[in-house]
């Protein structure tokens, strides 16, 4: 395998040799005010239309051109473009600094560089959101939230009110790869999904791949959400924050050594539970329900060719009921990165990444009892980017992750009747080699092809079980580091764009993704007690194949962007649970699993207005997603719970003047699939319900309007303060959280459908500041 990889390397290096009389312009593009590197800024060559590159995740670019004089336009949305004439007679390294636009009220001048990256790139099935945009969309409790805003775009759904989790193109919540500075975030929800783990103060860039991610990404079958943190201002110190009704946040950033090193620290804490103290009832008063999280990052520019970053996240949710029952859970991540520029064309990034997730349940009844579960991952990722010539940009490298899972550790006080229990730890080693190339053979074609080879090893020590109908039939003992099970998978990825002209393009894509780390959840909403298990002899790698086709069009000088995509997805080795399955603290949990296949298809439409006083979008999704699991629904196909046929979202942001801006979002979707009884019967005098099929019914349609307003109190070059008002569910629609069937209290022979709903109107006010 290694031999093959090095042959590939050799090939790549040899191709770069052909461009002998070409010279390259390379460098980084940063925000002049903060020194933050800019991701996706474009560098275009006026003399050769269609030639241009965008900066990578670290703001680096490299462009090869024949000897000559060129006019380069460097631009980024919301920033003044730079036009620079450069004579290329040798390889040249030059950094650019972009100044933010002073006003965004008027339509942004459409400069020489058209803002049509969405048309010309090969990206399909990608959602990008700008942090500024997210800050303006009204949300629950007034806390800007990237996950909530993403769910307003086509193909990304939540199921029902306030439930966490994210369902992308018919996939399950457990099939999303969520990365924060490359580190896996195992549980992206705070407070069961009312908040996400991402504090938008700390975030620079968000990209969501709906099953079409390039070969650098892997490990989950449904989607990749790549979130990158800010580096920290290396020019001036700044303090910012917000004070809200139920949460506050603070961030501090600044230079450690000006132009060389900077830091960023953000913190958040909710205090919803302080209101519980107002209750006269001690049962309610003695409860705790809050979360806090921190993001921190430092970076150091060693010299023109070397840069180091260290970033981390720590978050914790705490729930405590009368000191009798408590649960706390959270993620930790840490990423150490080294950017190195080997030469004008070869950029590399080496990352050492740690992430973990754990939860702990504590019960104090007649005795003390606690259950703890942890997943830890250590990851080494090496990525090279080779800006070979102006037709090819390659990316290749490897990824090696070691996972250690403590599925359950039961600790009890000595007088307890419960036996202490330590489930066997699980060890897995996940490796990948990847290669991808963005190839632009001519101005009409843009092709991104790639391949990812995944080698997964389940390692000893431990006892491993074989099951028949959920009963253990055989036990095999393996010693430390022995390979218990190995799986090899090849994942081809292909995105092709056919650019008709600078306003219209067609794109197509095929990709395969596999998943060797599976989340088993006793519910479809995101619970902190979800369990992660590696692939094994019983649990095969999940496989997802997707084809998609899209048409992209910009009009009215790129002010409007329209996209429509259709997709079809096949899913293999999907996992579900038996009725009444016990997944926590169960050594034989694999015996509780059921396996099957899935399929999903849909069409997504998005019309976006990018610039002007009024911005926003209208999205519509038609979709279907089904499962066929052995042991469920008589082994017949049935709709998955997240199967929502029609889904509409409208987002509008209106900037009235320098003081006031308004926003509104409206969502409407037909009900998700749900299992209701179709009959009833009596067992031992109790009424029980008879189910004829899985998910054969639909929840009522869901709709909700949220409105918001931002009042800028003060805005200077240095400081800014504003008040944000919002009302969640402005017309008080009672959207069901769940529907249960119960016998009528007054007439026990009658059955009622009882809807539980969480929120009608939720007003909130937040004071935001920055200086």
């Amino acid at each position: 395998m290694n031999k093959c990889f090095f042959t590939l390397l050799l090939f790549i290096f040899s191709t770069t040799g052909f461009s002998a009389n070409c010279y390259s312009l390379s460098g980084t593009i940063t925000d002049a005010a903060s020194g933050e590197s800019m991701i996706g800024a474009t560098i275009a060559v006026q003399e050769i239309p269609g030639t241009g590159v965008t900066t990578n995740s670290y703001g680096y670019f490299s462009l090869s051109l024949p000897e000559g004089s060129y006019t380069f336009t460097i631009s980024y949305v919301g920033y003044k473009s730079i036009v620079s004439e450069i004579k290329l007679t040798a390889n040249k390294q030059q950094n650019f600094k972009l100044e933010p636009e002073s006003t965004q009220l008027n339509d942004v001048e459409i400069t020489a560089q058209r803002k049509n990256h969405n048309i010309t790139s090969s990206e399909i099935g990608v959602e990008k959101l700008e942090i500024k945009e997210i800050g303006k969309v009204p949300v629950l409790f007034g806390e800007a939230d990237i996950l909530k805003t993403l769910k307003l775009t086509p193909g990304i759904k939540s199921v029902g009110e306030g439930s966490g989790g994210m369902f992308v193109r018919g996939g399950n919540n457990s099939q999303n790869l969520i990365l924060l500075d490359e580190a896996t975030v195992y549980n992206a929800d705070h407070l069961l999904g009312f908040f996400s783990t991402f504090n938008s103060d700390a975030i620079k860039d968000i990209q969501m791949f709906k099953g079409t991610a390039p070969a650098e990404y892997g490990g989950r079958t449904s989607s990749v959400l790549d979130v990158k943190m800010n580096d920290g201002n290396n020019q001036d110190y700044h303090v910012g924050g917000g004070i809200g009704l139920i949460s506050s946040r603070l961030n501090v950033e600044g230079p450690i050594v000006k132009d060389k090193a900077s830091f960023l620290v953000t913190a958040r804490r909710t205090y919803a539970d302080i209101f519980l103290n107002l209750s006269p009832d001690t049962l309610i008063r003695n409860n705790q329900l809050y979360f806090y999280d921190f993001n921190a990052k430092v970076n150091y520019i060693i010299d023109d060719n070397n840069r180091l970053y260290l970033s981390g996240y720590f978050g914790r949710d705490v729930f405590n009921f009368n000191n009798r029952f408590g649960i706390d859970w959270g993620n930790k991540t840490g990423t150490l990165r080294w950017n190195h520029i080997w030469n004008q064309k070869l950029f590399s990034n080496t990352s050492l990444i740690y992430s973990d997730y754990d939860y702990k349940v504590a019960i104090q009844m007649n005795y003390d009892f606690s259950l703890k579960s942890v997943i830890k991952s250590w990851n080494l990722k090496q990525e090279f980017q080779l800006f070979a010539n102006n037709k090819n940009t390659m990316s290749f490298g490897f990824n090696s992750v070691f996972h250690n899972i403590t599925p359950g550790q039961l600790e009890v006080s000595e007088d307890s009747e419960i036996n202490p229990l330590q489930l066997q730890q699980k060890h897995a080693w996940e490796n990948a080699l990847f290669f991808s190339n963005v190839w632009k053979p001519n101005s009409h074609l843009n092709i991104n092809y790639g391949l990812r080879l995944v080698a997964f090893y389940l390692l000893g020590p431990g006892d491993f079980y074989s099951y028949n109908n959920g009963e253990v039939t055989d036990t095999t003992t393996y010693s430390s580091n022995k390979v218990v099970q190995a799986y090899y998978n090849l994942e081809p990825r292909l995105n092709v764009a056919w650019v008709f002209n600078d306003r219209n393009s067609m794109k197509a894509s095929y990709s395969r993704n596999t998943q060797n780390l599976h989340m088993v959840s006793s519910s479809t909403s995101s619970l902190p007690t979800d369990v992660w298990i590696p692939s094994s002899a019983n649990v095969k790698p999940e496989i997802g194949d997707q084809i998609s086709l899209g048409y992209f069009s910009n009009f009215s000088k790129d002010r409007y962007q329209f996209s429509s995509e259709i997709y079809y997805r096949w899913m293999q080795n999907q996992i579900d649970l038996k009725n009444g399955a016990n997944i926590n603290a169960n050594e034989y949990m694999e015996g509780e699993l059921l396996f099957g296949i899935g399929r999903a298809y849909g069409a997504e439409f998005l019309l976006k207005k990018k610039y002007g006083k009024l911005t926003g979008w209208i999205g519509y999704t038609y979709s279907k997603t089904e499962r066929k699991i052995n042991g469920i629904n008589n082994d017949n196909w049935y709709p998955a719970r997240q199967d929502i046929t029609h889904d509409v979202s409208v987002v509008a942001i209106y900037e009235l003047n320098k003081k006031w801006s308004f926003s509104a979002s409206w969502v409407y979707n037909t009900g998700n699939a749900v299992t209701f009884p179709s009959g009833k019967y009596q067992i031992n005098g109790n009424v029980e319900y008879y189910y004829t099929e899985r998910n054969g019914y639909r929840m009522p349609d869901y709709h909700r309007l949220d409105i918001g307003a931002t009042w800028v109190l003060k805005k200077t070059r240095k400081s800014e303060s504003s008040l944000n008002f919002s009302v969640y569910n402005a017309y008080g629609q009672k959207n069901p959280y769940s529907i249960d069937f119960e016998q009528d209290e007054n007439d026990p022979s009658k059955t009622n459908a009882v809807m539980t709903y969480l929120f009608t109107y939720v007003p909130s006010i937040t004071y935001n500041f920055k200086f």
Partner: protein, 266 residues
């Protein structure tokens, strides 16, 4: 551990984050199913009730199945045809359950034959039985100004270490069955002295009520039935329980030991 999820859900409702409302849902009609609920306890006669399911919108008037041929057979032993003592209820007159014996049940109706097999486990004695009323589960005795929201019934027994044991506790108040789905395994307390707590809301109980508790050692298949009958808490999809009958999809046949406890509420 499903308990955790339940407590979690309950706590949320306790924090009054949620409101409820009765809504109108049109459910489909379903084909009427035969429900067999069979039991044979040690030293007791066999009892089998045969009823039918109805549509969800119907009023709870569950039809019974008359004139079925119900046979119970002890493996390598006697066999008896059960008599219909009242409509839909069939009982044995001579055959009683014996610990460690396996029983075959056969139910023949006009168009269906339903069979099942189950074994009575060795009985495990209750060491003690106590009742306290408390503010909330685990808080101990209610005191002074705080209202006693709950009754906690505690059954103490010693679980044998050498075998897998399953228990069911059936509760009735003044002869009316309460919840019948209380089943327990010894997965986390094998070989220990166990205190089983049954939590009941005080609202359900008033002074003078007679609480009958039937403590049963059950077969694993019966445990699986009652363990899987619980509804879909927190968004998991509900489904019919795993039955140990063949020829029918709803109901169960339980051969079990039985120890009866009684408490009169003061």
């Amino acid at each position: 551990m499903k308990l955790i999820i339940k407590i979690f859900t309950l706590s949320f409702i306790f924090l009054q984050l949620a409101c409820t409302e009765i809504i109108d849902i049109q459910t489909n009609s379903s084909e009427s199913q035969i429900i067999v609920e069979g039991g044979i306890a040690s030293n007791e006669f066999a009892r089998v009730s045969i009823t039918k399911s109805i549509n969800l919108n119907d009023s709870d008037n569950f039809p019974v199945v008359n004139n079925a041929l119900v046979t119970i057979t002890e493996l390598n032993g006697d066999s008896e045809i059960l008599h219909e003592t009242r409509p839909g209820m069939y009982e044995s007159k001579t055959l009683v359950g014996k610990p460690g014996k396996t029983y075959n049940l056969k139910v023949e109706t006009e168009d269906q034959t339903i069979t099942s097999t189950c074994t009575i486990p060795q009985s495990i004695a209750v060491d003690s039985f106590s009742v306290v009323n408390s503010v909330y589960p685990g808080s101990g005795q209610a005191t002074g100004n705080q209202p006693a929201n709950f009754y906690i019934f505690t059954i103490n027994y010693s679980d044998p270490a050498d075998v897998e044991n399953f228990y069911r506790v059936s509760v009735s108040i003044n002869g009316i069955p309460n919840s019948s789905n209380r089943v327990y395994s010894d997965q986390y307390n094998n070989g220990n002295k166990v205190s089983l707590n049954l939590v009941m809301y005080s609202e359900e109980i008033k002074s003078g009520d007679i609480i009958n508790v039937d403590f049963q050692c059950i077969d694993k298949s019966v445990y699986n039935y009652f363990n899987s009958i619980s509804n879909g808490a927190m968004g998991s999809s509900p489904a019919n329980p795993y039955t140990n009958l063949s020829g029918a999809i709803l109901g169960y046949f339980s051969a079990h030991s039985s120890e009866k406890l009684e408490y009169i509420v003061q």
